[in-house]
Amino acid sequence: MKILSKDKVERVLDKLAESAEVFVPLSRANSSGFYSWKTRNPEKEQLMLETLNVYLSPKNVGFPQTEKMYSIIQSGTEAQIKETFEDSSPRIIFGLRACDARAIRCLDDVFLTRGYEDSFYKARRDNMVLIGQACYEPGPNCFCQAMGVDPLEPEVDIVIRDCGDKGYIWETKTPKGEELTTSISNLLEEKELKAPEAKAFQTQVDYEGVAEKLKGMFEHPIWEDLSSNCQNCGICTYVCPSCHCFDIQVKSWGEEGYRFRCWDSCMYGEYTAEAGGGNPRPTTKERFRNRFLHKLEFFSERYGYPLCTGCGRCIVACPTGINIVNIINEVKEASVDV
């Protein structure tokens, strides 16, 4: 089998960065996220391959928080598209975990299937290679397995498995991965290593039947209760690897301008504000309910698996201690009068 020894990781990243933008888990200014390897400040920032995961997910890579779409120029009453900014430059995400890889599959399904292909997402995604890292030691807030994700088999092009000092097992899974592996094969070694034993999950939850049960719970009093301490701050949706709502807006000056899209959040009031002044989700309760129904019910109905991948980020980030695992448990326990 192919092995990447630990002292060669940086060389591999340097090599890959020659022909693509490589996003790696990095610590940055008291936070952490997937940032371009080229922008790393080695004095201040560390590669975070050996901690569990990073705080800001890699969703930004395929679905940037702000993405310029096209520029317009006005002549008389007509507007013309001047330039379209589809960005298909090669990108690699290195070291993402199974939960985040599943989240990318969610985005793929949303943006590329069911009859409409989002050309901006497609341009980025077509030239993207995913190198995932298997998780042998789930963290205190991880519950991916309960959401149908196998932490040992991330859905990616290449999987690396941390075998301690001896290095990483390097497993190529797809033709895209083959190509990448060939390009750095001189930096890999050939030897046999044994992957570590997987440790047990500290957080257990039973999602079985939840999507089904939620169908009858839209008007359930549980939402009032569960949402009562939510501040609608939206952090949970911004740190979530699979939340993908966006807004399209315009900037213009004189006869020129451009359209861009930017992340939005169903936790915001403005999200459902209507032109006439109405709002179908007037309070925290409706917004909160939407987030959890989308995660746990609607997405499952449409795509056959939940939109929550069990990464646990929202649990860590919520300033008021709202925990999706508790919510799943409460839904399980709730009595529904028929």
Binding site: S27, Q65, T66, C233, G234, C262, V316, P319
Partner: protein, 302 residues
């Protein structure tokens, strides 16, 4: 604190069963020792869940905004900083005093559950071992400034001066250095607006950042729009921020918002003072910079 916790529970259950309040705002315990979280209680029975402990850091005055349009009477627990938030809402005419029952707690300093959960998450590095909240080492008013009932024994203010020293340092920078300092910090902002949502002084019904016609501040996550967001936020906080520290605490990317807020408080005091926001409530009192007068000495305001 156990004693205080017990008393809060008793008070809540008394107020709710006697019908003196319809809702009581306090805290309950979450899944971990360090996870204390806000709780909205509506019956004496539910009041059993109430706790008050060293992680009861959230400023519950912000939650009053959820109830501002109703007639319900609301009881809540406030620490020193939170009590200034209540004064903010009263001065801003967002609540009437007679709808409130305020249980004040003299605060010995709090810990921040977010620090603890982040340290244990495996998602972040170098989070210090000490959960003590940053805002509590800059606390001039640990004792509630408005209350109907007071618990605990009076505490000494705890102002370590580190924040003021940092402000001084920034004041002494050249304009270019200062710009760079803020650019670097605001660049990280993900524009989630959590700082606004957690803020009791951000109580406008339609926030300027949500206005679409016209759209005052662009929604792009870039240097210009981020800068604009933070400038506007700062302007709107001058003379109004009660220094409860919630914005900085909840910020997911650790932007030092309290440096800005405290500088604004300092300037408001120097230019329009002596003035400190939300330290004394009198019927009809108004925060600095919120009064419109035809004979305003500064033409700019006319």
């Amino acid at each position: 604190m156990k004693e205080i916790s017990k008393k809060v529970k008793e008070i809540a259950s008394r107020l709710l069963s006697e019908g003196q309040v319809d809702v009581f705002l306090a805290w309950e315990k979450g899944n971990q020792d360090y996870l204390t979280r806000p709780l909205v209680v509506r019956s004496a029975e539910e009041a059993e869940r109430i706790v008050f402990d060293e992680y009861s850091i959230h400023n519950l005055s912000n939650y009053l905004l959820k109830f501002r349009d109703g007639n319900e009477k609301v009881g809540l627990v406030v620490k020193g900083c939170d009590s200034r938030g209540v004064i903010r809402l009263l001065e801003d005419n967002q609540f009437s005093r007679d709808r409130l029952y305020i249980v004040g707690v003299c605060c010995p300093g709090m810990k921040d559950p977010l620090k603890a959960i982040k340290r244990n998450s495996g998602l972040l590095q170098n989070i210090p071992d000490d959960d003590k909240a940053d805002k509590c080492s800059n606390c001039a008013y640990p004792n509630p400034l408005i209350y109907d009932e007071l618990l605990g024994s009076e505490q000494e203010p705890n102002v370590k001066g580190e924040r003021q020293a940092k402000i001084q340092e920034i004041e002494n920078m050249s304009p270019d250095e200062r710009y760079e300092f803020f650019r670097e910090n605001f660049e990280r902002c993900i524009r989630c607006y959590a700082c606004r949502q957690a803020c009791v002084a951000c109580n406008c019904r339609v926030c300027i950042f949500d206005e679409m016609r016209p759209q005052w501040v662009g929604r792009e996550n870039n240097e210009t729009d981020n800068m604009m967001y933070h400038l506007v936020r700062a302007y709107h906080m001058a003379g109004r921020c009660v220094e409860c520290g919630e914005c900085e605490r909840v910020c997911p990317v650790d932007i030092p918002l309290m440096l800005i807020n405290s500088k604004l408080a300092k300037d408001a005091n120097e230019f329009f003072g002596p003035y400190e926001a939300g330290i004394k409530y009198e019927e009809g009192s108004k925060p600095a910079l919120s009064v419109y007068r035809l004979d305003d000495p500064d033409e700019g305001f006319m």
